[in-house]
């Protein structure tokens, strides 16, 4: 098991280096002139050259990449061009906010979708099954900002059950944050619901067809114990796998939801940095997200391996 994790971590290194080159190339090589892309078309040539010199953008490209990548590894992420603050703490603070939101959303996603999936798997091809499948899939394909504004209207504006903002006023206890995060978390949940519920449904149906379930039923085990002891446990494997593969969508969803709810997370930070051409901030945030994305994929693989004895032994 440890060897499996070690090998996967080692495999991440080349992918990560390539991804960092890609990010760097997209941000600094593609636009040609870094100073020009920051200052825009109305700046004079002297201003552009001055900025390039200050940023070190007049050096050869590989020197700049080495300096940037080296700085990233050692925690020296430079200063934001726009806000004049160090990038590292800003990104970390935003990341923390995003993790609170994403974690809360995941806490909602897993039981809801597994429950829905198992329900429809147990009553396959019934009206309930069809209703659950169609409605969860529709929720998944609709963009999160669309479901977000509709929910915002219904629950915050019309019914007034939940707050319109995503952050409690300063000085509120930490727990009250979750009350404010209910509305932003639901569209994130919708985003994943369709796939995960579908997986849980397929998993349930497969397990139900297994001989050992028939044995369990025939030896007189109560239905509830069959479902909780056998079906639920084994239907979890494909479900967990798909949760891991959906992290990319969750990150994309965070970008959109944080923008919609004006929530100070890393998604909002990236959008703002991109719109203001704040390159140091943008590059650091994107690379950080890439690392987290790969790590969470790895974590999903590990959880699957732990759940599946065949992979666990083979690792």
């Amino acid at each position: 098991m440890l060897r499996l994790i070690g090998r996967r971590l080692l495999l991440m290194v080349p992918t990560l280096i390539l991804a960092s080159i890609l990010i760097f190339a997209l941000a600094e090589v593609l636009p040609g002139d870094v100073g020009r892309s920051i200052l825009g078309p109305y700046a004079t040539q002297e201003q552009v050259e001055l900025l390039n010199e200050r940023l070190g953008a007049d050096r050869p490209i590989y020197v700049r990449y080495a300096a940037w990548a080296g700085g990233f590894v050692t925690g020296d992420w430079g200063d934001s061009l726009l806000l004049k603050v160090p990038v590292f703490p800003t990104v970390m603070k935003a990341l923390g906010n995003s993790l609170v939101l994403a974690g809360f959303a995941l806490v909602l996603i897993v039981p809801t979708s597994v429950l829905l999936g198992v329900f429809s798997g147990l009553r396959r091809d019934s009206a309930l099954d069809r209703t659950i499948t169609v409605s969860t899939l529709s929720m998944t394909v609709i963009p999160e900002f669309v479901s977000g504004v509709v929910l915002l209207y219904v629950f915050a504006v019309w019914l007034k059950w939940l707050p319109v903002t995503a952050m409690p006023p300063d000085g509120s206890p930490f727990v009250s944050r979750f009350y404010y995060l209910i509305l932003p978390a639901i569209p994130l949940m919708f985003l994943e619901l369709g796939y995960i519920a579908r997986m849980a449904r397929v998993g349930t149906a497969q397990v139900l067809a297994m001989p050992y379930i028939r044995t369990a039923v025939l030896k007189g085990l109560p239905r509830r114990r069959v479902i909780f002891g056998h079906v639920l446990r084994n239907a979890m494997v494909p479900t967990v796998t798909v949760i891991g593969s959906q992290v990319g969508w969750l990150i994309g969803g965070l970008v959109v939801i944080e923008t919609l709810f004006v929530y100070p997370g890393i998604g909002k930070l990236m959008v703002d940095a991109a719109q203001t051409h704040d390159l140091p901030m943008l590059e650091a945030a994107v690379l950080m997200v890439a690392i987290l994305y790969m790590l969470s994929n790895l974590m999903a693989d590990i959880v699957v391996a732990l759940l599946n004895p065949r992979i666990r032994a083979g690792g």
Binding site: T15, L26, S147, V149, V157
Partner: protein
């Protein structure tokens, strides 16, 4: 339509031929022995195969017309195509401002109310279909063409080429698509053409992966062997022999990507990386009118529902196609 006529006309011939052959087993054996490469035999086999294909295609069209999922999706999407193309000719102007009647609720003169600049929300909602229905299909076509070429080459040649291409694909997929597109669009600027190319390019790796695996499934088949033994060039084998045989996975992949393209295009314009005002694009409208959600919800809700219906419509088509094809 002519497709149907053609195969209907030739059906009896095929049946007659089939019965004649089967009624005479000796003759059949003799023929089979009389060399596989026999000209007439090959042409007959080709014709039979072509007929079989036509019959199958006709069956698919019928099955699609009978699939409620597919038809409901089609009705929704066609409705929005018509609105996107022609609504400006029969609604009020989607851009005409009227400061005196801003943020008014739905009424007889403005069915969906007016927005902050006094523009008619009904006209803007109907016309809003246009941008997304231009961007998404074109981006999908680009992704299919590029991904198709890459997938064909990687799957057909295998070896080192395949290895390199697939590693590159892995790296491109190491970042969530929405992040990469924000990165690209923030640097390249705004505009319809740039969005189309960006979405097309970012969907290319996924498409190439699908097409590659479809090609790998075909390349060991006899007809590919035969073509290579005939000494056909690789490009010919790829485009004329393999490509026609993987149209179904390509169509399914195309409709799946179309759904994602609508999603991505709308999201990008919501985030402010797509179009600029006064475009009546749904994503952009939701982003700019969101501040009025509490006092004038109609400015946001109607474009939101419109976008939701289009996305669901495209996905119903995908679902219907996938089900009919997998039968």
């Amino acid at each position: 339509m002519d497709e149907r006529n053609g195969s209907l006309g030739s059906d009896p011939d095929l049946q007659a031929e089939g019965s004649q052959l089967s009624s005479d087993p000796e003759m059949l054996e003799l023929r089979a022995e009389a060399a596989a490469g026999h000209e007439g035999q090959e042409i007959q086999a080709d014709a039979a195969a072509a007929l079989e294909q036509k019959r199958q295609r006709r069956y698919l069209v019928k099955a699609l017309l009978r699939s409620p999922t597919f038809m409901v999706g089609m009705v929704i999407v066609v409705f929005w195509i018509i609105m996107g193309a022609f609504s400006v000719y029969f609604t009020q102007s989607p851009t005409a401002q009227d400061a005196l009647s801003s943020l008014q609720g739905p009424s007889a003169s403005h069915w969906f109310g007016t927005d902050d600049l006094g523009r008619d929300v009904f006209a803007r909602t109907m016309a809003g279909a246009r941008t997304v229905l231009i961007i998404a299909p074109l981006a999908t076509v680009l992704a299919l063409v590029w991904g198709g070429i890459i997938g064909l080459v990687a799957g057909f040649w295998r070896g080192l080429t395949d290895e390199i291409i697939m590693r590159l694909v892995d790296v491109l997929l190491a970042l969530p698509i929405i992040i990469t597109s924000i990165l690209i669009l923030s640097l390249l600027g705004k505009g319809t053409a740039i969005i189309i190319v960006t979405i097309g390019a970012l969907f290319t790796p996924v498409v190439s992966r699908t097409i590659r695996s479809a090609v790998i499934g075909e390349r060991e088949r006899e007809y590919v062997m035969a073509a290579r033994l005939r000494g056909e060039r690789s490009a010919f084998v790829m485009t004329r022999e393999i490509l026609p045989n993987i149209t179904q996975p390509i169509i399914v992949e195309g409709t799946i990507r179309l759904g994602y393209a609508v999603f991505t295009a709308a999201t990008l314009s919501f985030l402010g990386f797509g179009l600029v005002p006064p475009s009546s694009d749904w994503g952009l409208t939701i982003a700019t009118q969101r501040v009025f959600l509490q006092i004038a919800p109609w400015t946001v809700l109607f474009p939101a529902l419109a976008l939701a219906s289009l996305v669901v419509g495209v996905n119903l088509i995908t679902d219907g196609l996938g089900r009919v094809f997998s039968k």
